[in-house]
């Protein structure tokens, strides 16, 4: 474990409370974590356990009610919009639902152009931009020529999510938060997308925070696993440790919920 390295993203007592009075929901409840560079970290929990909320806090899209987030060893400072923009050059995300992730009024190439511009490529000649976009598309097995002048909603869910990966390919962030990137798409595309994601990670060496409700998937992709229940991290550690030797009954239950296809690993009896 690269424990001696400084963590690139960590949190102490991070809490997010929605609403007040009777509608008060503690979505994220005093979580502590240290994500190290180059690792693939999985956050596993059932639906409603606060995974997406935590991801949005980490992205700086919502402010935590309590607690601090540390980025590259220092307390994260995203007070101004300009600082946020700098932050987002280093930390990016893929959202759960590709159908909601795109502005339906903007064409696909503008989505990719935004990424080039964000990395300072605004002044590049048009041909160079097209070349970059085409390269990103071919990385995710999409044909850029067929995509120009199309709107995102004209693609399938799997294609949209691949386009999201193409975005990350262009942006080359330090950290990627992938919030259940495969949960809303058909089973066939799932493996492809996961493979592309892992391939991209190897290519640009980023830290990946992989959020999922599927502990089998987490075991398959990650180095470190955090188990989340009702906004709290109940268990964490290396994937082998947590999944092969679960201490919590909640973790146990998550493992038992895994569909039969993973049975050959025979996790529950190890």
């Amino acid at each position: 474990m690269p424990a001696e390295k400084d963590p690139c993203l960590s949190g102490r007592g991070v809490t997010k409370v929605f609403g007040f009075g009777r509608t008060r929901t503690v979505a994220v409840d005093h979580v502590d974590f240290d994500f190290h560079e180059g690792e693939v970290i999985s956050i596993v929990g059932e639906s409603g356990s606060g995974k997406t909320t935590l991801a949005k806090v980490l992205l700086g899209l919502i402010n935590p009610t309590e607690g601090e987030v540390y980025f590259q060893g220092k307390e994260r400072d995203i007070g101004s919009y300009r600082k946020k923009k700098e932050y987002w050059k280093q930390i990016q995300a893929i959202f759960q639902d590709p159908y909601c992730s795109y502005n339906i009024f903007r064409k696909i190439d503008t989505v990719l152009l935004d990424c080039i511009h964000m990395r300072g490529g605004r002044g590049l000649p048009r041909a160079k931009k097209v070349e970059l976009m085409a390269e990103a598309c071919s990385f995710v097995n999409l044909k850029f020529d067929e995509l120009t002048n199309k709107y995102p909603f004209e693609l399938s869910g799997g294609q949209m999510q691949r386009l999201m990966i193409a975005r990350i390919f262009l942006l080359k962030p330090k950290i990627l938060l992938a919030d259940e990137p495969t949960s809303m798409i058909d089973a066939c595309s799932r493996a492809t997308i996961l493979d592309m994601l892992m391939q991209l990670r190897d290519e640009i060496g980023m830290t990946v925070v992989f959020i999922t409700h599927d502990i089998g998937l987490a075991y398959y992709v990650s180095d470190v696993v955090y188990i989340m229940e009702n906004g709290r991290f109940v268990e964490s550690g290396s994937a082998d440790n947590v999944i092969l030797h679960p201490k919590e009954t909640y973790t146990q239950r998550l493992i038992n919920d895994v569909p039969k296809i993973y049975e050959e690993w025979d996790l529950s009896t190890v």
Binding site: L59, K85, W88, S101, N103, F105, M118
Partner: protein, 417 residues
């Protein structure tokens, strides 16, 4: 985009409303080209001339060609127009009161009735219980009956300028006709004239134009202010939201119509032009647009496509314009349509209270209602002075609201039946 438009134009309600509205616009646009009379020109001496075709008597007589038509019912019609059913009954009543037996009198037989009348009627006869007004009525009736059965033509005489003596020029037989298209002066007044003696239809068309302009200006101003404040409050949130909502709540608590009355009153009659009124209406009616836009924006601002736009480094300005505005555009169009409709109605309400635009420059639908009310058209039964105005206001409001309902059904599929 084209897809949405196609859907919109497939909605029956929208198309119905849109057609009515476009028809009103077309009339308003084409009418002045065809009938270029000045709308506020006073043409009638006297008020509330009934609707009809007005033919110049002098020109009819002087018309170059005269035609003879032998129509069977011409005499009957002439008599009927001078001797109405109620006049016949009144004559019978007088004759009975004067001592004739009821069975002797046949009110339907003009010839015998006239004979009996001429033989018996004497204005000096005192009939007990008859009011003075009634007596005068009989005197008037008697004079009008003079010559009713005559088949003589009318004689035209002109004064000789040298001698000052009347000289017979021509005899006009009763069966002589002129063709209206050959008469030099004919004025069609489909809706008669109003209390000032102005052509109601021409005035109404101009009033509709001005009212639509007022509605459009007021609606646009209200929608723009409401949109800007709603976007800002909803998206930026925090202190700006608090400040804007405080301001908005202030306006909500004070009824805008009362505010409008106070402002209109303090501006003063002289400086209240149509544009001023429109601007004032616009500045007092943005409140609910602002509230509605704000709540729409609040539900949009945490959507993932907005988050993605932020992650792509876009400015707040860009996000509001590109990621929020298109999503509420259909809503804003609907709000605009309702605001236009409300603007027209508000102007009418203000003008009826006498707080509308000043009355000397342009007519508006509200001003026409105001004039009709002040001159008691509704009491005098001069329906043409106010009824067409009501119909026009109702038609415009109806068509705009119908369009709005149609749009609502297209954009909120849950409402579709």
């Amino acid at each position: 985009m084209e897809h949405t438009l196609r859907q919109v134009f497939r909605s029956g309600k929208f198309v119905a409303g849109f057609s009515i509205f476009v028809a009103v616009l077309l009339i308003v646009f084409l009418y002045p080209l065809i009938v270029p009379h000045p709308p506020l020109e006073i043409i009638s001496q006297g008020t509330f001339f009934p609707p009809g075709i007005y033919v110049d008597v002098y020109d009819s007589i002087g018309s170059t060609t005269h035609y003879t038509l032998n129509l069977d019912d011409a005499v009957a019609k002439r008599i009927a127009s001078k001797l109405k059913e109620e006049d016949r009954l009144a004559m019978k009543e007088w004759l009975v009161a004067a001592g004739l037996s009821e069975s002797e009198i046949d009110a339907a037989d003009t010839q015998s009735l006239m004979d009996q009348w001429v033989n018996n009627y004497d204005p000096k006869t005192n009939i007990p219980g008859m009011t003075n007004a009634r007596r005068n009525y009989y005197i008037r009736l008697n004079t009008s009956l003079d010559g009713i059965l005559s088949t003589e033509g009318a004689i035209i005489a002109a004064r000789n300028p040298d001698t000052g003596v009347l000289e017979e020029k021509r005899i006009i037989p009763q069966s002589e006709y002129v063709n209206v298209s050959e008469v030099a002066n004919v004025r069609v007044l489909p809706l008669g004239t109003d209390n000032f003696g102005r052509d109601v239809l021409t005035e109404l068309v101009k009033a509709t134009t001005v009212s639509l302009q007022i509605g459009f200006v007021a609606g646009s101003i209200a929608t723009l202010i409401g949109l800007a404040l709603g976007l800002l409050a909803g998206y930026v949130g925090g202190l700006i939201d608090d400040a804007i909502m405080f301001f908005t709540n202030l306006f909500t608590v004070i009824p805008s119509f009362v505010l409008l009355i106070l402002i209109s009153f303090s501006i003063g009659q002289e400086r209240r032009g149509a544009v001023t009124i429109a601007v004032v209406i616009g500045f007092t009616s943005w409140v609910w647009t602002a509230r509605a836009v704000r709540s729409q924006v609040i539900s949009l601002r945490n959507r993932d496509h907005v988050n993605l736009s932020k992650l792509s480094g876009h400015s707040i300005f860009h996000i509001i314009l590109a990621d929020i505005l298109p999503y509420i555009a259909s809503y804003v169009v609907m709000a605009l349509i309702l605001q236009i409709s409300a603007g027209i109605l508000t102007e009418a309400g203000l003008a009826i209270l006498g707080l509308g635009p000043k009355t000397t420059l342009v007519p508006t639908l509200g001003l026409m209602m105001n004039w009709a009310m002040i001159y008691q058209a509704q009491i005098l039964g001069k329906w043409w002075a106010y009824f067409p105005v009501i119909i026009t206001i109702a038609l415009i409001a109806f068509s705009l609201n119908l369009m709005n309902t149609g749009l609502d059904q297209v954009f909120n599929p849950t409402l579709r039946d």
